[in-house]
Amino acid sequence: MENVYELKNVYKTYKNDGKEFTALKDVSLTINEGEIFGIIGMSGAGKSTLVRTLNRLEEVSSGTVNFYGDDLAALKPKELREVRHSISMIFQGFNLINQRTVIQNVEQSLKIIGTPRNIRREKAKQMLEIVGLLEKANEYPARLSGGQKQRVAIARALAVDPKVLLCDEATSALDPKITGEILDLLKKINEERKLTIVIITHEMSVVEKICDRVAIIDDGTLAEIGDVKEVFSNPRSKAAKKLVFPSNPFDPSDENGQLVRIVFDGTQSNVPFIANLVEETGLKVNILSANTRSVGGIGYGQMIIELPESEKDRKTVIDFFRKGGLSVSEVNRYE
């Protein structure tokens, strides 16, 4: 599989009134052809800056961003514009031209690459058909809902047959239902056109739903990267744990109680392992929190439990879970 993007030691520093602010610190990652790659982080973590280095809307301060082997920073303005024709982008605020009709908006991207007028119209119609908005072709964006505006933006982005689609918080301004529909559309496009998609988001649910791999950005650094399933079932970094596991609503009964997190996937979810634990070992555990989520169609569950007091009993419990194939990790109660 070919690398679409290869980022090596990317730094980005802003200078403002003599003060320096580092938005990206030593970020290295690769994005593969055909995958949906998620970049998640809290707001201000640097993810929007990161995605803008992918089409050089932001210049990097040091390090390299390679797109199909070409260093973006080395391109001359004209070459850069050429390359941008194969890197489309959609935005949180849609960014349509409000004074132009839907179809004129879609045609705009084709006009930039110099497509002749009649082909342009046809292609724009096809695109609107794909996003399900052909009947709105002659409406103005102001008459559309947020979800419809984003569909127009997607049509505009895809009309030029790009190699990559960058999505900058593309669903953040939409309600959960519409978000789901837009994500389904992106997934469909990814599968049918083998289009590489990079998704920037602060919402875990977006990554869970459609991403193949995910990078977690925390305070400008790459905290963790890997398959979504892997990161979700076994987050290693603090930032990842914070995103994957919400904070514990309950305090343990004992100040010094030992807490562990157990994570199980769909294949174990039909085993009543807590009941089995009590039955087989006679030991009791206190459940402090539990939830489930679906990642790429597979159900995942996690529980935070407080272990018995004695060291020996704790070991018995942990061994019992490990034997059952569950992942067990110690949790600091303030984590």
Binding site: N55, L57, L80, R81, E82, V83, R84, H85, I87, S88, M89, F91, G93, F94, N95, L96, I97, N98, Q99, R100, Q108, S109, K111, I112, I113, Y140, P141, A142, A153, V160, L166
Partner: protein
């Protein structure tokens, strides 16, 4: 009011119209590109260029801060050079145009500043050149605001054209001055003022109507 004066007023309306029309047209021909340049070269914009922005900005500010009456007098040699005479309706178009250019430029700049930065970012991400972005994204998006600003500018030029009467520019201003002020014919004075007000209102209304027709948000 004598027939003679009535006829003079009709001619005055026509002269005022001619002066306003051509001065507005020429001032937009120069002021619009200047406004675009002011916008595009300012900090953080597509063609950011401090020296160019500073120089154009300084020229615009200086010409704008000159009282129009002073500009009229100051430009007499220039007007004579351009049109061969310094009095009359045609001659008045020159100082009117020069006086309106900086106003138009600033108005255009401010209309363009209203365009959402996201739209420019979208154009850039699609690989549009700065010039393309200005012509096909920024100006269309600013059109309603540009039209509204246009109405204000034309009304301002009309107001200025009345002042051109002072230096023999003709039009309603000259009549108001000649008959109304120097020979105390109040009825002439009020008629010309009323006509000027009506013309300004008409321009405003047309501008607002066009702007509304264009505004799709």
């Amino acid at each position: 009011m004598s027939d003679y004066i009535r006829e003079a007023i009709i001619t005055g309306v026509w002269e005022t119209f001619v002066m306003t029309f051509f001065a507005s047209l020429f001032s937009y021909a120069v002021g619009m590109p200047l406004g675009v340049l002011l916008y595009a070269t300012s900090k953080g914009r597509l063609l950011e260029n401090r020296p160019v922005n500073f120089i154009i900005g300084a020229i615009v500010n200086i010409t704008r801060s000159l009282p129009f009456l002073i500009l009229l007098v100051l430009l007499i040699p220039f007007t004579r050079f351009i049109v061969g005479q310094s009095i009359g309706t045609t001659a008045a178009i020159v100082p009117l145009t020069i006086g309106a250019i900086p106003i138009v430029a600033r108005m255009v700049e401010s209309s363009l500043n209203e365009v959402q930065p996201g739209i420019i970012e979208a154009a850039t991400s699609m690989g549009a050149s700065p010039l393309y972005t200005i012509l096909h994204f920024i100006i269309p998006e600013a059109t309603p605001s540009l039209l509204q600003g246009g109405a204000i500018n034309v009304a301002t030029v009309l107001g200025y054209s009345a002042m051109a009467g002072v230096i023999g520019g003709g039009g309603l201003g000259a009549i108001a001055l000649q008959y109304g002020y120097y020979s105390y014919q109040k009825d002439v004075l009020f008629t010309t003022v009323a006509l000027l007000i009506i013309m300004v209102m008409l321009i405003q209304e047309i501008g607002i109507w066009m702007s509304k027709k264009h505004r799709k948000t």
